[in-house]
Each structure stands twice: as structure tokens, then as C-alpha cells.
Symmetry: C2
Subunit: 405 residues, 2 copies
């Protein structure tokens, strides 16, 4: 069978799912001796390895008949109860029945998109926003509207203007996707006033809010915030989170909190996606929560990340040109940098690669195609030495690029 | 927000994903003291618990930096290499590059459907076929064509007639889905001649073949067969399998073997579905394969299942009415029973429930709505005593039902 024949089979879907050139470039790169500031991996030294090794063998020995068996699509009761208690510490009141366990928060995004987004639906996101969310939403062919951020998070006033415009043309917004706390990639946190304002608009204009919250449980700088879900009185907020950043991403345990009607829709969708999230991993996370591993473990992770973030900030100060700026994140794994106008970070990437350093060009995080002069820099994975050296190399590349202008 | 408001949001998709009445019934039932012959769970005593407990703590201690970390969407190299070696024992030559690790074989089905089935595409399945495959394919709105089975598997001659008809009307078949070995729910195995015939038709009429193979690695009766994938010279066969029946379903480790072009398409789809299958589980299965746990463990599982199957066959002989018949499966977890014409097993289910026994009405396994008088009976999960008592109760219900006719 020739290649052409196979191409015929998936022509339509391929268009939607084509790999980004950048991802392909990164693939090549990661096999070479290059400092990568492009990924989004936690520091591998941050995993509580001994505790998890002990817990894994304990749950298999004690509960093997259940832990190795098929389990309910919604998630095991013991994990949903443990998550319910865990979230209560963050003022989120979620009954076990309101929780759906997912195979990482990526699956949570896919379930939400699959059940809620029909082609042409209007989906609002921040400018910039989490790349993988854009990519999974895209599969369901929505019309994106991007709302700019400032230091207090999403410009909800601009959203209101857009809403008026949209509704006066007879259309509606289906959902607003936000990473309100220590946003990826910008590091910004939405102020409490803005959160209230957003929820008021949700009532008035009848849309759902998806609160993606991977970072708030391990902020390495204290910031004032309150979860949108904790302020949600009408069940409009769909909350998603994960243990990827606070325990281990290799376990792929995420979850959704939503009203029961939505949970039941999500559950049916998940049933055909993977039947259920691995039972063993659910037992491990439930036991880790029961033993307070996460709470005891968090201060150490926070310290590692605070230190690495500060090293990157110092290096940026030293090596980046004066007319560039960058975020000072209170959480998350990234710094987002704005270079002088005129620099195209996507076009510059091959030159950086030649110098032995890579990053993610920021444009991919903007649904409106802006952000040409921005880049996302990861500080969680590389060692302190590599962070400094990577930023030094990158500073040189940028200065040379500027000299060409 | 009222319920009506939420319903508006997902009206279209709900139609496709509505829970079957049966599944809802089973949900209620499973919380009561009822003998369930309806599920599809492996015998929990069949899990190699001690070995897996040791392996889980070993891989976290030795490889924790990797095993607890994010990993590649396609699957870890070590697992793909181990699977490649494992399959070579079954004459399937698959390079690691031709393998995509999935979160259970359910996800494999979803990936295949998502990337290959567009609305209106013609998908051929067996009559009856695996219920969960029908359900996931349905989401992508194909036109199903059902081909009857006999003792040698799919009636490929009838398929050929259908193909001629379809092609003469200017249409094409996109894919044929088959469980050729120890089929679920029928227990039938496709003969080698039929397999050759099917692959010839695939060439002639230019369609893909999906070979779903959860059972062939642990047949508890020897039967002659050769995997379709092992006979595939042109890359038309997409092979899927899982460790659910041979090691543990709670690990959710499945995989797809396909030509590289398709693997790359599947990989992109999987990326937005869950980024990757849990790394820890991949390390556990790779280590279990390396230590030959599965091969050493299989004879014991086979013995348990052969014994339970025989108990159910004896009970059927004793308690079911004379004019019913049933399969004598060489593998799998199920016996499929054909009751006298006129009995509607779906309508009879509430009566069986009253008597304290349940099964899955067979009609759900037939895409053409036939099979009203059939039922699927699970023998892997219930204890020998429950199997006998369950079949005794069921025999009574059927006899009473017949007396009413």
C-alpha cells in the first residue's frame, strides 16, 4: 500500500492534528547536547521516591485484589474521598460525587472539549494561554476569542466588551478557559476582584468557566487568591487539577470537579476513552494523600523551584538586553519573556539551537497569532548551572539578532 | 443554573453518549446481593500480586527519576522493546517504532476511531462483536455493516458479497474490525483460510483491518490460528492488545502495532488525549516482561479459567432448557448463549434480577439489532459456587419464561 493510500484515510483529521513544526524541532533537539529551556518537566529530584516505592508495594500487597483490577470510570471512592479532603484545605468544597478522576489533566481538557465544544462554538482563552489546551480544544473546531492579560490576570473588562458584541450579534460564548493562578505561560495570578467580575459575567451571559489549576497547591511565593471554584455558587465552574506538579507526573492522576450533571456526562465520555484511570495509580495517590506525603513534601519542592527561578531571574538580568522584560512568577515552572519588538522568536530558534540552547517561541500560546517577540523559558528541569549557561547563550543570540536589525 | 440550561450545552453529544439502560441497570445491581454473570473482570486471585509489589517498588527505587517523570507519547522505549520481544513469540514482527503504548486497549480503539472514522464511513464488524468497540466507534458516526459468524469466524464470503454491493454503488469500506481469536462475546476463532481470504479482500477492496487481540496470549484450550498481523504483508492490519487479561487490568497497559505512518498519526491523537500512558505502569510491565512473570504466570491463569469455564458448561448442560445452545470458548472470559427463539433476554433481565442473577443481554453486541434471544455469561470473575448457583437460577427464569409463551 502506498503512502498516498494511507493519507486518503485520514486527510481531514490530519489537518487538525498536524504536529507543530516546533514540536518536531524539539524532538530532534532533545537527542542532542543542547540546554533545553523548552520543556515543562518537574525537577526529577523533587519526587518523593522512597515514600512512593514503599506505598506502591504496600497498596499492591494490601489491596492487590482491588488495586490490580478494573475499577469504576468515575474513579475509586477512596481516591475521590481523599481528593475531597485535600481540596477542603484550599476552600474547595467538593463531594466525592462531584469528582471525576482523569488520566492526567490533559484528559480532563479532552473530556471537557469532547463533551462541550461543538464546531463553531465560541471559546474564550487568555492571551497567552496554555498551549496544550489550545491544541486539544482546536480538535473540536471552536472559534477562539483571546483576551489579554495584565498583572491582575485576564482583562475581564475587555471580555465584557467582547461579550456585548457577541451577544448583540445573536451568538453566545460557551465557555471561558482560564489558568487563574500562576498562569502558564505568563506566571500571572488573577486578582480576587477580577475573579468576582468574571463569575458575574458568567451568570449574566450564561457561560461555563473552566478553571485549570495545576500550580496553586505549590506556590513558591505567597500570593493572595481564592479559587474560582470556591466562589462558585451556581455550578458554572469546572475545576481541573493534577498531582503532576506536587507529587509525580508519571502517575498521570488528574481530576475534574463539576456539578453532578456534568460529571455524569464527563464519565460517559471517559468510559469510551480509557474505561478508567489506572486503579493502581489511584490507590498510590490516595495512600500518599492519607499519609500526608504531599503536604510534607511540598516545602522541599517549593524551595527547589524558588531557588531555580531566582537563578534564572538573575541570569536574565545579567544577560538579556535592556529593552526586554519578563514575568516574576509566584508559581509554575516557567518565566515568560518579552523581547524588543521586531524580534521573531520562532525565526530565531534555529540560531539558538546552533548555540546550544532552546526555548518555546511564545506565539504558539496566543490564539490570535500575536506574541511573535515572546518566549517561554523553563526553570524547573535544568540544573542551576545549565539555567545560567542557557540564559547566557540565549542573551548572546538575542543581542546578535538585534545587531542585525 | 437550571438543569435545562446545562442540557442545552451538550445536547448533540449526549445523544451519542447516552448510557445504555443496561449499564444503568447493572450499576444498581452491583451494589446488591446478586450473582453477576454480567461483568468482564478477571479472577482477582489470578494477579501475580507478590511479584508486582516487588517490581513496583524496585522500578521506583532504581528508575524513579524516569518512572515518575513525564515520558514520550509513543511509550517508553524499554516497554516498546519488551513488547516487541514478547510479540515475536507469537510470530508478530513489530519493531519498537511500530508500537504505540496506550492506556488500555480501550484507548487504542478510541485513537483508531478518532483518527480514521469520519461520519458516514463504512465500518464492518462481526455479528456479534465487542460491545465497547461498537460504543466507541459510534461516537464518530460511521455506518456499520454486520457480518455473521459461524464456527470458523467471520463469514468472509458474505463480506465479499457486501463489498461488491458497496463498491458497485460507488462507496468504499474504510475498515473491518475483528476479534479473530477467542472472540468476545462468541468465543469463536477465525480459521486460517478465512484469515487469508479476509486479507486478500483487504488488498482488493482497499480497506484497513483492525485485529483486536486480548485473548490469544492465554488460550486455555489449544487451537490452531495465526495472527492476522503475522500474515500482513502490506501494512493494512492494525493490531491491538493489552496486558489486562494476562497480568492486570488495573495497570491499563495496552498497545497498537501499525505501520509507521499510522503510528505517527495515532501518536499525535494520543498526545491531546492524555499526553502519555502512565510512565510507572510502563516500567512495571516492561520489568514484568523482562522477568518472564507473564509467561510463568499464564499456566496458572489458564488453569483457573479452564476450570471455571468447565463448571459453567456443566451447569448450562444441567440447568438450561434443551432447545438452547452455547459456545465452548477456547479463550476469553465469556460463554455466549442462544436461547429458544421468542425469548427476549433484555425484557427478561428484570425477572432474572428478582431471582438474584444478572447477565448481559446479547442484543447490544449486534449492530443490526438482532440477537434478541442471546446472552453473554461471564465465568472468569464469580467463584465456582456462584457460577453454578447463578446458572441454576438463570435456568429457572428461562424455563418460567418459556412456560409463559
Amino acid at each position: 500500500m502506498s503512502k498516498q493510500d494511507f493519507t486518503r484515510f485520514y486527510a481531514k483529521r490530519t489537518r487538525l492534528m498536524r504536529a507543530s513544526e516546533i514540536r518536531e524541532l524539539l524532538k530532534v533537539v532533545e537527542s542532542r547536547d543542547v540546554i533545553s529551556l523548552a520543556g515543562g518537566l518537574p525537577d526529577p529530584h523533587s519526587f518523593p521516591r522512597e515514600e512512593l516505592a514503599e506505598i506502591a508495594s504496600y497498596v499492591i500487597r494490601e489491596y492487590g485484589e482491588m488495586a490490580l483490577q478494573y475499577s469504576a470510570t468515575q474513579g475509586t471512592r477512596v481516591l475521590r474521598e481523599a481528593l475531597s479532603k485535600f481540596m477542603a484545605k484550599f476552600m474547595i468544597n467538593a463531594l466525592p460525587d462531584n469528582i471525576l478522576v482523569t488520566t492526567g489533566s490533559q484528559q480532563a481538557l479532552d473530556i471537557i472539549a469532547r463533551t462541550l465544544i461543538d464546531p463553531g462554538d465560541i471559546v474564550v482563552v487568555e492571551l497567552p494561554t496554555y498551549l496544550a489546551a489550545i491544541n486539544v480544544f482546536k480538535l473540536y473546531e471552536p472559534n477562539f476569542i483571546g483576551i489579554p492579560l495584565d498583572d491582575e490576570g485576564m482583562r475581564v473588562d475587555i471580555l465584557e466588551d467582547k461579550l456585548k458584541e457577541i451577544y448583540s450579534s445573536g451568538k453566545k460564548v460557551k465557555l471561558v478557559y482560564t489558568v487563574p493562578t500562576a498562569q502558564n505561560p505568563s506566571g500571572v495570578t488573577m486578582s480576587i476582584d477580577r475573579r468576582k467580575y468574571l463569575l458575574e459575567l458568567a451568570e449574566k451571559y450564561d457561560f461555563l468557566v473552566v478553571e485549570d489549576d495545576p500550580y496553586s497547591h505549590f506556590l513558591f511565593e505567597p500570593i493572595p487568591f481564592k479559587h474560582l471554584k470556591a466562589m462558585d455558587s451556581s455550578g458554572r465552574v469546572i475545576y481541573i487539577s493534577t498531582v503532576s506538579k506536587i507529587l509525580s507526573p508519571g502517575l498521570r492522576i488528574g481530576w475534574i470537579v463539576a456539578n453532578q450533571q456534568l460529571v455524569s456526562i464527563f464519565e460517559r465520555a471517559k468510559q469510551s476513552m480509557d474505561l478508567h484511570t489506572p486503579t493502581l495509580n489511584q490507590f498510590i495517590v490516595a495512600e500518599a494523600l492519607r499519609r500526608d506525603i504531599i503536604d510534607r513534601h511540598l516545602p522541599r519542592i517549593k524551595e527547589i523551584y524558588r531557588m531555580k527561578k531566582n537563578i534564572m531571574l538573575e541570569a536574565l538580568e545579567e544577560y538579556f538586553p535592556e529593552n526586554s522584560r519578563w514575568t516574576r512568577p509566584a508559581g509554575g515552572l516557567f518565566i515568560f519573556a518579552y523581547l524588543p519588538e521586531g524580534i521573531d522568536t520562532k525565526a530565531m530558534l534555529p540560531k539558538a539551537l546552533e548555540r546550544g540552547v532552546i526555548y518555546v517561541p511564545g506565539q504558539s500560546f496566543f490564539v490570535d497569532g500575536s506574541g511573535k517577540n515572546t518566549m517561554r523559558l523553563n526553570f524547573s528541569y535544568p540544573s542551576p548551572e545549565k539555567i545560567e549557561e542557557g540564559i547566557r547563550r540565549l542573551g548572546q543570540v538575542i543581542k546578535e539578532e538585534l545587531a542585525l536589525k
